[in-house]
């Protein structure tokens, strides 16, 4: 690179352990020089968000050092980081919906004299910042009335109002269209020309090529490598992101697909651009759905479970299917294992048997503890769940066994269509293998299973078909027996059907 390499920020060997002992980052490092666009990529759970939050002062590291402008620093709070010239654009959570655009732009640093807001100065600076990002909306508009794209522009305009020397952008491109993204890129170039360092997080490799100078890859909480973007091809990056252990997962033999269709989506549309057409699952099939975060995996499953409104034509077992509540979906034999089992899947402080038999309770008016314990015992035995007593609290089980309890709900309820959202998240290798074995047993018994996951290697190893979602649309399905992972991966990341 031709430009002088003056260090803006150096993060060295930073680790973060969340209690009790979840390791989010393990000696990760990131060196950013002034005037560069430094991209950060990594799969889900690689530790990107934790690293960004540490840099923004929102999370304190367990170990490691941070140097800003050559001086070692301890960032005590977001305000502290901001005062040292670090500005962070979070994906969503940093705008206050009830306030106006202008109020949000200056939140935390309102121009004021003696505690009184200097409204005139604030208005002038707000208009200027919004003009720079090309925003066509009123500074007095409340953020909740804006589209997602305009909220993103507001967040970017906000970082312009602070005299930041390091700006962190966490997937800024998500909601933006091409014109808006071009405008953001122009602003980035303007800023870097002034010596501002940009840390740019994106899954889209084409953006990296367009705007990035260097790229650091995180995997499993560690820094894998930092590349010069110009000298690096996509294949190298993709390998660095997913790592070598993906070859360890052997593809499992699957019986031939049956002819009878379980679920068929002719068209399903919903909020945030979800638009699914021509999707089907047969009885006895394990269908994989993959895609980046925000591609609509979870939204699709939640729509099918009656949690998220949608319109369109869907049939289940040949009959029209349009659930408006979970109860409606459950009574048609649908079960869902949600993405976050601790929040949405389990009542952590309740006993194992209560959790395993919760959907059964709507069929009777008495609690029937004895009968439910018996039912739970038999289902949990079938899923080879390890637990002490049915009365044991579910929070005391391991992650893998907790997930089996979630699954047991629907097995006990004899659900025929299972919607599994990231079912292997947080499980160790053994527990994952166990889980997929169970899934294929359930499929062998005739259930249709949809597994949504960003873990492509798992889907590749266990599914009959893998569908790729990109920005709310299906790109099509792949047969894992005849398609290699790289083809699917480039579809997942690049949104292209061919590598």
């Amino acid at each position: 690179m031709g430009r002088p390499m003056t260090e803006a920020m150096a993060v060295d060997n930073v680790s973060k352990v969340f209690p009790p002992n979840i390791v989010a980052l393990e000696q990760a490092s990131l060196h950013v020089t002034k005037g560069e666009v430094h991209c950060l990529i990594g799969a889900n759970g690689a530790g990107k968000s934790t690293l960004l939050k540490i840099i923004a002062g929102a999370v304190k590291p367990t170990a490691g050092t941070i140097r800003i402008d050559g001086r070692e620093t301890h960032l005590r709070s977001p305000a502290d980081a901001a005062s040292r010239g670090i500005s962070m654009i979070y994906q969503e959570l940093d705008l206050v919906q009830q306030l106006t655009v202008e109020q949000n732009l200056f939140l935390g640093q309102v121009p004021a004299r003696l505690g009184l807001i200097d409204a005139r100065t604030r208005r002038a600076r707000a208009v200027e910042a919004l003009r720079r990002v090309g925003a066509g909306f009123d500074p007095d508009a409340r953020v909740e009335s804006l589209s997602v794209a305009n909220r993103q522009l507001t967040a970017i305009a906000r970082s312009l109002t602070r005299e930041a020397s390091i700006i962190i952008m966490d997937e800024p491109s998500g909601p933006l269209n091409e014109t808006e993204l071009e405008r953001v890129f122009a602003i980035i170039r303007e800023l870097t020309a002034q010596g501002v360092a940009i840390v740019y997080v994106s899954h889209r490799l084409e953006e990296l090529h367009e705007i990035g100078d260097r790229v650091t890859v995180l995997r499993g909480g560690r820094t894998i490598e930092t590349f010069d973007v110009a000298d690096t091809d996509d294949r190298t990056l993709v390998h660095a992101v997913i790592g070598e252990n993906r070859t360890l997962l052997e593809r499992h033999a699957r019986p031939p697909l049956r002819d009878d269709t379980a679920l068929r989506i002719e068209r399903l549309t919903g909020a945030d651009g979800l638009d699914i057409a021509d999707f089907e699952v047969r009885w006895g099939e394990i269908a994989g759905i993959t895609g980046l975060n925000g591609s609509g995996r979870t939204s699709l499953l939640r729509s099918l479970f009656g949690v998220r409104p949608f319109s369109g034509t869907v049939t289940l077992d040949g009959q029209p299917f349009h659930p408006r509540t979970p109860i409606a979906a459950i009574s048609r034999g649908v079960g869902m294992v949600p993405e976050d089992r601790k929040v949405e899947g389990l009542i952590l402080d309740a006993p194992v048997y209560t959790n395993a038999t919760l959907p059964l309770m709507r069929k009777s008016s008495l609690a029937r503890h004895g009968r439910r314990k018996a039912a739970a015992r038999s289902v949990l035995a079938r899923l080879s769940t390890k637990y002490g007593q049915p009365e044991q609290k579910v929070i005391q089980l391991s992650g893998g066994n907790q997930q089996k309890v979630v699954l047991a709900k629907w097995v006990a309820n004899r659900s025929k269509l299972l919607l599994l959202d990231e079912p292997s998240r947080g499980l160790d290798v053994g527990a994952k293998a166990d889980l997929y074995e169970l899934i294929s047993e359930l499929a062998a018994d005739g259930a249709a299973v949809i597994v949504a996951s960003s873990e492509l290697d798992e889907l590749h190893a266990h599914c009959d078909r893998v569908w790729v979602l990109y920005e709310g649309r299906l790109l099509g399905s792949f047969d894992p027996a005849t398609t290699d992972q790289n083809t699917m991966l480039s579809a997942q990341i690049l949104g292209r059907n061919h590598a």
Binding site: L99, L107, G108, D140, A141
Partner: protein, 337 residues
Amino acid sequence: MPDSESRTGEIPAKASAEKFRPLDLLIQYNFVAIFLVVVIIASLLSENFLTFTNIANLIQQAAVVGVVAVGMTFVILTANIDLSVGSVVAFAGMVVALLLAAGVNPVLAVVLTLVIGAAAGASMGAISAFAGVPSFIVTLAGLVSFRGLTYLLTDGVPVSGLPAGFSSISSSMIPLFPGFNLSSMGLIFIVAAVLAALILRLTVFGEYVYATGGNPEAARLAGLPTKRIVVAVFAISGLMSALGGILLTARLRIGQPTAAQGLELDAIAAVVLGGTSLFGGRGSVVGTLFAVMLLQVLRNIFNLLGLGSFYQMTITGVIIIAAVLLNRFLDFRRGRT
């Protein structure tokens, strides 16, 4: 950039905020409309209703609940609640009475009492914010403990023998314009409400209150001292409760330990009726002011009609439910869930 234009064009940022649609405006400021309807009904029922004397009376009668509700508005805007206010009113009323009876200089007694009230509120706020305990629980404990403390001060006996001049805090008649004399406690209520409205609207602190209630995580990430803001709003609520207690004692001319029971519910009802969201981030002191007066006018109407307090309680509850349902409907119409 045609695409971006059309996209921003879709968003009715201006349409909702600036295009005047009378119906929307009416729905938005429904508490004003309801207030006006009730006032018209009252003036039809009694010729004496729209007289200066009666209006001044209404404001004076609403003053104690009013100042407490103004403080409560700050707390609820941050998505917290303060159940202790009734007990703090009684406690402060007793404290100021005891100080005066002991011969302390009246100005000093009032200031001391206000400081004690603010400190009581601040400490409850601090426990809630820094230990992460819901304010509902902390202030519920405050409700019980401060009432207990109030009784302990004199073993439950009222305090009398206050200096004669002290009642002038409440009942000096101040001529605002010819023919309209407002008692000092009514004036204090109005001034406190106006001051609070200005603080919320014009100061950085006010904006922080809305931001903390609207999205505490976003506020924290923007560098706002959200915990200290929560402590501050509870301090304000404690301060206003102490003010309410002082006004009450001055008007009754005794310190009454059983005073202001259930006052917290009247104050919360007024804040919610005035359109402030219990989920935080939305609302105003102006709404609270109208709601306090609305409830007072209703009481006045019931008295004019000769309906007893049982009717008053029942119908007040029904009106609160109706107002809250209306606000939910508004949220729904604006696409909030």
